[in-house]
């Protein structure tokens, strides 16, 4: 009798448990991923998170959602140097792409948020972004069908909490994996790059060595590996007197002045304008910067100092053709299926 009661209770619990959703990605991305033990990715959580990502009720004026500044067609950026929040003011920095976040540990341009859960609270409550206290958001959702039922299936209770909102959104964000670019197809031996793309790829990863006649653009030191980023903070020579202190603002160490997080270059052709302040409108401008206009300063990355294709040169000095090749490679990182994937699209539009 006792046993069968236990079994019945057990069954009731299992049927209410959300279904785990395994993330799938190529092995060359590695498994150094970050998913907190208390927020596993589930089918129900992700479905709710997707809806919340596009939900304008989470903003004080009911007009802004995450997707306002992170639009799928731009690989979850917004095409602007700075974005406009609820109070009409501009954000301090450029919106960031949301791809392959499950491999990132320190979020934002200056790495100030330790983990996605901590990150998500910022845009929701920041007065210049969505500007609404989490308890207010929970209250609004509690009164809005079908949210209580969706929270119940995702977290087992129809009582909506701040933590539930954040956990659902971050579960959805962890599924935003981009791994079907032509570069991926090349890595999986399904695509033969053009000669220009191949040369661009070689330049991207090679360190210049004029003595040995090796040409290179040395991007790979920072944007290395198939993920196209190493989680590092560097000053990439935008200014000799950085206007934005970047990482120094967090660590208070003068050696971190003008250092920013090395970001992924996946879908880079879709995410203009570029850099933390959106200063470059095109990839041509970006490549010109690295080739010819790296500004020296006390904190300029050691990897960008005197790294040149000419003996004793100060700048990379790529040729016009090399710049074109490098850009051809950067275009290989565009994943058109990522920006059209129905799993990531606006659920209020594509019913």
């Amino acid at each position: 009798m006792r046993n069968s009661l236990l079994i019945i209770i057990g069954l009731a619990i299992t049927t209410n448990t959300p279904t785990p959703l395994p993330l799938s990605y190529p092995s060359y991305f590695g498994n150094r991923i970050y998913i907190p033990a208390d927020n596993p990715v589930t089918v129900e959580g992700v479905a709710l998170g997707r809806r919340l990502f596009y939900e304008t009720k989470l903003s004080a004026n009911n007009r802004i959602s995450c997707a306002t500044c992170h639009r799928q067609e731009y690989a979850f950026t917004d095409g602007k140097p700075f974005s406009t929040g609820v109070d009409g003011t501009l954000t301090k920095r450029n919106s960031m792409t949301l791809a392959n976040l499950v491999w990132v540990r320190n979020f934002f341009w200056d790495g100030r948020a330790d983990g996605l859960e901590e990150q998500a609270a910022t845009p929701l409550t920041d007065e210049h972004e969505m500007g609404q206290a989490l308890c207010k958001s929970a209250e609004k959702l509690q009164a809005a069908k079908p949210y209580p039922a969706l929270f119940k299936s995702a977290f087992g209770s129809s009582h909506i909490t701040a933590e539930g909102i954040i956990n659902a959104i971050t579960q959805f964000e962890r599924t935003l994996i981009s791994c079907n670019s032509r570069y991926d197809q090349y890595l999986q031996e399904k695509y033969q790059p053009t000669p220009s793309e191949l040369n661009g790829m070689t330049l991207f990863f090679a360190n210049p060595n004029p003595e040995k006649q090796v040409r290179g653009a040395a991007c790979g030191h920072c944007h290395g590996g198939p993920k196209t980023f190493n989680e590092l903070f560097h000053n990439n020579g935008l200014d000799s007197m950085p206007g934005d202190a970047g990482r120094e603002g967090i660590t208070k160490q003068p050696t971190d002045k003008g250092r920013f997080r090395v970001v992924t270059l996946r879908n880079i052709a879709l995410t203009a304008p570029y850099m933390h302040d959106g200063r470059f409108n095109t990839l041509e401008e970006v490549v010109d910067h690295y080739s010819d206009h790296v500004q020296s300063s006390r904190t300029l990355s050691i990897f960008l100092q005197d790294n040149s294709n000419t003996t004793h040169g100060k700048q990379l000095q790529l040729t016009a053709q090399e710049k074109k090749d490098l850009i051809a490679f950067l275009h290989m990182l565009t994943d058109s299926s990522f920006i059209t994937d129905k799993r990531f699209s606006d659920p209020f539009k594509n019913k």
């Binding site: 989680e231 590092l232 903070f233 660590t251 003068p254 050696t255 904190t299 300029l300 990355s301």
Partner: protein, 161 residues
């Protein structure tokens, strides 16, 4: 006069900001967490080792054996480095976020023949700005990839797999 006052006030401010000093920490499986500033490192015993740098040339680096630093933090080295302590590792973190890994045994000259140091000088000159004040120098490796710049922390942990 007022100008002078403002100027000296500014100087004080600048002096204050610049004094945010670099340090290196030892944390994790330690008997006491250490935070060493340049002045602390300066007081410790120094040795010199040679490293073939990226330029393909040998350079002489001077600094403190990492083993001494770990010992000061009470890490299980020497006679204590046996049994489960042999499953400990040291994760070295740098200011730019770069990280490299060692088995604790690699840091202990009782087991490993090479002396890994936390260098403060190269060829008898202070380290250049982007590499100092503390650079890890690991002699005898094919590529200087683990001889990392601007070290900020040694984390000692058990491998638990």
């Amino acid at each position: 006069m007022i100008k002078n006052l403002i100027a000296s006030a500014l100087l004080v401010c600048i002096g204050y900001v610049a004094s945010a000093q670099a340090y290196v920490q030892v944390t994790g499986e330690v008997s006491k967490t250490l935070k060493l500033y340049e002045a602390d490192i300066a007081k410790m015993n120094k040795v010199s080792v040679s490293l073939t740098d990226k330029d393909g040339k040998d350079h002489s680096y001077t600094g403190v054996p990492v083993l001494d630093i770990l010992n000061n933090a009470g890490v299980t080295t020497g006679k204590q480095l046996h049994g489960e302590n042999l499953t400990k590792y040291v994760l070295v973190k740098c200011a730019d976020g770069y990280q490299v890994l060692f088995a604790l045994a690699e840091m202990d000259t009782a087991l490993s023949k090479k002396t890994i140091i936390l260098a403060t000088r190269a060829d008898d000159k202070p380290l250049p700005e982007g590499k100092g004040p503390f650079r890890l120098v690991v002699p005898g490796e094919g590529r200087p990839a683990r001889s990392c710049f601007q070290v900020v922390e040694f984390i000692v942990k058990f491998a638990k797999d």
